[in-house]
């Protein structure tokens, strides 16, 4: 053991070296990497991982080294005499049973510690967010603010987030590498995950459990914001469904109170009329293109699956909430950058972009799509 620990000390420069080489380029070149954690849970996971990497590197070097040495040292020629016929050696065999056991113990201790830490319930002031996996997009709900959004999760930096997760249809897995690792989500079963974002910025995550034809394009974005900015965002999201004139007036506190009262669920049976109202309400615009888009949003049936309100939004809709779609950085669950051109293409030919997705090609013309884009751009 002494020998082992001395060796590990001598070779321990290897692990950070490997780590450095790997990480050096990470954050910039690999935006979805697990090796550059930016959150507490991901740091725990990363710590245990590098503990295993350290020991694995040592074992790898020693054992592969012994193998290679033996191959070169004991290479024989056809005429050589028969080597000593050794059948075994009890002492050696006991040693190489015990040493791996000790190394495993060195990995097991931090592992078990981390298991219990990872399974802790976050403290009382954590912000609870509900995550629902759908084929093939993500729904995010903030019960505290009675807000719903999709595919772009906003979180305050430095505030522990407690995720309560489920699935609408099949099993998915919520994977947010830089903050939290992953947790599977199931229909009819709640799973949990928590994390605290350390740095503001935009991060990417993805579904990690095979969930059907478009599993490959079921990503999401996470926007970590300084708390003040996040509060602003919450306030803004609550108001974008109201008359534009009202936006500036409502202070955050009053929003809070109203959200507490509004926790009552909207009956899912009648989402469409409410959507329609809000669609009308949300645009006081004079722009004829936007007005045409608004009409098309109703006529083409978009409204049947998509809600345009974030606050007190109807649950159980088939499509993602579009209340702030105009401001999101990506569309189609992290698939396309949210440019006018991409949005137009997506509206016209969703089956080309994500074949098999539940949104059909609705026969929208280029002009109609432009109008719809103009209309959706007003929802920011």
């Amino acid at each position: 053991m002494l020998l082992g620990s001395r060796l590990i000390r001598r070779l321990s420069w290897l692990a950070p070296l490997v780590a450095l080489v790997v990480i050096a380029a990470c954050a910039r070149d690999f935006p979805q990497t697990t090796l550059a954690p930016k959150g507490d849970l991901a740091r725990i996971e990363d710590g245990v991982f590098f503990e295993t990497v350290k020991w694995a590197t040592l074992v790898f070097v020693l054992v592969e080294g012994a193998l290679l040495y033996a191959v070169f040292r004991f290479r024989g020629k056809p005429g050589d005499p028969e080597p000593d016929q050794i059948h075994g050696n009890t002492v050696v065999e006991v040693i190489w049973t015990v040493i791996p056991a000790l190394i495993l113990a060195m990995i097991a201790v931090p592992t078990v510690k981390a298991i219990f830490k990872e399974n802790e319930t976050p403290k009382g002031d954590a912000l609870t967010i509900e995550v629902v996996g759908h084929q093939w997009w993500w729904e995010f709900r903030y019960p505290e603010f009675n807000l719903t959004t999709a595919n772009e999760l906003h979180v305050p930096v430095g505030h522990t987030i407690s995720l309560k997760m489920g699935a609408y249809d099949v099993v998915h897995s919520f994977w947010l590498p830089q903050f939290a690792g992953k947790r599977d989500v199931f229909p009819n079963r709640e799973t949990r995950l928590w994390f605290t974002a350390e740095e503001a910025g935009e991060y990417s995550g993805q579904c990690a459990e095979f969930c059907g034809i478009q599993h490959g394009r079921m990503a999401f974005r996470v926007v970590a914001q300084p708390p003040a900015e996040f509060d602003q965002w919450v306030g803004h999201m609550k108001l974008i469904t109201m008359q534009p004139t009202a936006t500036s007036a409502v202070p955050r506190d009053s929003v809070h109170t109203s959200s507490a009262g509004a926790a009552v669920q909207q009956p899912a049976a009648a989402p469409a009329p409410q959507n329609a109202d809000s669609a009308k309400a949300s645009t006081g615009s004079e722009d004829p293109l936007v007005a045409q888009g608004q009409k098309l949003f109703l006529m083409k049936g978009c409204v049947g699956c998509h809600s345009l309100v974030a606050y007190n939004a109807p649950k159980g809709l088939l499509g993602p909430n579009l209340a702030n779609v105009g401001a999101r950085s990506y569309i189609a669950a992290g698939t396309l950058k949210n440019t006018d051109e991409n949005l137009t293409h997506w509206i016209r030919f969703p089956q080309d972009v994500k074949h098999g997705v539940l949104m059909p090609n609705l026969g929208v013309t280029q002009d109609e799509a432009k109008a719809l884009v103009a209309f959706l751009r007003t929802h920011r």
Binding site: T33, T34, V71, T111, I213
Partner: protein
């Protein structure tokens, strides 16, 4: 029993004529059954390899459109299913069938007709599964078929039906083989071959049979439940009806983890034969090798939930399954150290089988180490369902099982076909395979750690996955090139190489004491065994190589009679399941025909006369 030599047998006369197609259809000879396994598994292995290459072409660049998402999902599902059930498992069957009876000094297996039944079921099951491509309904829900994606609601077509019924058929084949070899190894060993004198390959195969017997019933039950869900509207795995998708995960992995050892233990056994022979030194720590194998198999039933850390089982379950998994590293380490101990101090002959065996050790160490990494649940929360895991299990299944099986193929090819494969081509194959393999799978560790999930049909630009995926694709083609060289080697030596001697490698075990290829009855006289390396002992006693064994007339040796009832019975299974799949369209008639064939086959099998009359010879030989 298959191999009774008694007074009746002496008068039974010469075995029946053994050439032509009919002799293959009716064969019950374990060596011919092995050749059928070889043909089938090679065919499916290349099919699975082509699927892998198509996957790699699709992933060579971001946002590629080489195949559609549906086709991609079919490709990775069929690649996994094919490689596990139709390639690696039956490749092990080649050696179980051909080598075990020879190694234990038997003339055939315990149940020759059951053996034939097993190979026919495998071949027909493999064709059934792949016939799905012809109907545009290849399985597309992954080889693990996680509920509730496999429910009728989310997988309406026949894709999942083909998968679940195909696996059910293949399970029958595996169970038949497991029973057969379990009994064969227990009952048919030559006099003097005590359990602790059995060659290590026989030991590892024996443990594999026990794993098969205990693990396959679980997947059988799980598939029946799934079948009820899909065909009869039950809700075992359907959450809207109160079922639980996690139940499927548990059932699947209680089978699925032992299955991993079913795939690797035969390879452990093969290289435990190859290393001593090419080191000219007995296996180091025989008893430790046996017991570590037993220990691995035992622990293998207590670690299944390490495939499910991300489901959130809570700290107690996570801890238990994590520690149990880490424990497996100890007996596995013992094996690796004993292999190194075997070559240590030896006189190494680096022939092709030895190169592959050494490659096995080198690659398997890496697969084992990455396995310990995700035995730790916190680390696994990042790694599971990413390409890191894809890298890990290819290092154990390809770097392990396939390297071991290829070592076995080069090692036993002369025994099986009477031709030593070409050394130079063998070495080219080895280096292409080693380089191609590492180029394909080593970058997967990093692309996984950098955030690439498994089973995605494409990935966007800008996540940094591009160049590593390109290298992987290049590696895959180099790897394929290695196997092309092997095929050429087989073809070339088949035509031009001189006949192989009985003992080309200075072997230690009984199979090298008889002509290559062996005659139908294997041993004219059943040998008596006095030690672990019987042939080396015989050579040492004699003070030099043994004389080349002569081919003898089979006069007086009675072998089991050929039968086509195993094939008829085997044929009833795909018939039955096709009937089941079409029941909603054509009514229950297909099922009736299948069941009728099944009973017809079994009835005739059971009441087939247990003796054969041989023209011109009076008397009857029992078998």
């Amino acid at each position: 029993m298959a191999t009774v030599v008694g007074k009746e047998a002496l008068v039974a006369g010469i075995p029946a004529e053994k050439t032509g197609l009919w002799s293959w259809i009716t064969t019950v000879d374990h060596k011919r059954v092995a050749v059928l396994y070889l043909i089938g598994s090679m065919f499916f292995f290349f099919l699975g390899g082509i699927e892998a290459l198509l996957i790699r072409i699709q992933l060579v660049r971001p946002d590629n459109n080489f195949v559609t998402p549906e086709v991609f999902n079919e490709l990775f599902t069929m690649h996994g299913t094919t490689m596990i059930f139709l390639a690696v498992m039956p490749m092990s069957q080649i050696f179980f069938n051909y080598i075990i009876p020879l190694m234990i000094g038997a003339r055939d297996v315990a149940f020759p007709r059951l053996n034939a039944f097993g190979v026919w079921v495998f071949l027909l099951g493999g064709l059934f599964l792949n016939a799905s491509f012809l109907f545009g309904a290849a399985p597309d829900a992954g080889w693990f078929g996680y509920a509730n994606l496999t429910s009728k609601q989310f997988s309406p077509g026949m894709h999942v039906d083909f998968w679940m019924l195909g696996l059910q058929i293949l399970g029958v084949s595996s169970l038949a083989a497991a029973v057969n070899f379990f009994v064969t190894i227990i009952n048919l060993r030559a006099p003097g071959m005590r359990l602790m004198r059995m060659p290590m390959f026989v030991w590892m195969s024996f443990i594999t049979m026990i794993l098969l017997l205990l693990a396959f019933p679980v997947i059988t039950v799980a598939l029946i439940l799934l079948m009820f869900d899909r065909f009869f509207g039950t809700h075992f795995f359907v959450p809207t009806g109160g079922g639980d998708p996690i139940l499927w995960q548990h059932l699947f992995w209680i089978f699925g983890h032992p299955e991993v050892y079913i795939l690797i233990l035969p390879a452990f056994g093969i290289i435990s034969e190859v290393l001593p022979v090419f080191s000219r030194k007995p296996l180091f720590g025989y008893a430790a090798m046996v017991f570590s194998g037993v220990f691995i198999a035992f622990l293998g039933f207590g670690v299944w939930s390490h495939h499910m850390f991300s489901t959130g089982m809570g700290p107690i379950a996570d801890t238990f399954f994590s520690l149990a998994t880490m424990l497996i590293a100890i007996p596995t380490g013992v094996k690796i150290f004993n292999w190194i101990g075997t070559i240590w101090g030896g006189s190494l002959q680096l022939k092709t089988p030895m190169l592959f065996a050494l490659g096995f050790i080198a690659m398997f160490i890496m697969g084992g180490l990455s396995g310990v990494m995700h035995a730790s649940p916190p680390a696994d929360l990042q790694q599971t369902d990413t390409y890191f895991v894809v890298a890990h299990f290819h290092y154990v299944l390809f770097g392990g099982s396939i390297f071991g099986l290829v070592a076995g193929a080069y090692y036993w090819w002369p025994k099986m076909f009477g031709k030593v494969l070409d050394e130079r081509l063998g070495k080219i194959h080895f280096w292409l395979q080693l380089i191609g393999f590492n180029l394909t799978f080593f970058p997967m560790h990093f692309v996984g750690l950098h955030g690439m999930p498994r089973r995605v049909y494409t990935y966007p630009k800008g996540l940094g996955f591009d160049s590593m995926n390109q290298w992987e694709t290049v590696g895959a083609f180099i790897l394929a090139g290695g196997f092309a060289v092997m095929l050429y080697n087989i073809w070339k030596t088949w035509r031009t190489a001189p006949p192989a001697p009985a003992d080309p490698w200075n072997g230690a075990t009984l199979e090298w004491s008889i002509p290559s290829p062996p005659q139908e009855w294997n041993f004219p006289e059943i040998p008596t065994v006095t030690g672990r390396d019987p042939l080396w002992e015989a050579k040492r006693q004699r003070g030099g190589p043994l004389p080349e064994p002569q081919r003898v007339s089979g006069q007086g040796i009675h072998m089991p009679a050929p039968s086509y009832w195993p094939l008829v019975t085997a044929f009833s299974l795909p018939l039955l399941f096709t009937g089941l799949m079409l029941a909603s369209k054509i009514g229950p008639w297909g099922i009736f025909i299948g069941v009728a064939t099944l009973f017809f086959g079994i009835y005739n099998w059971l009441f087939e006369p247990s003796y054969t009359s041989i023209p011109g010879v009076k008397g009857k030989g029992r078998h």
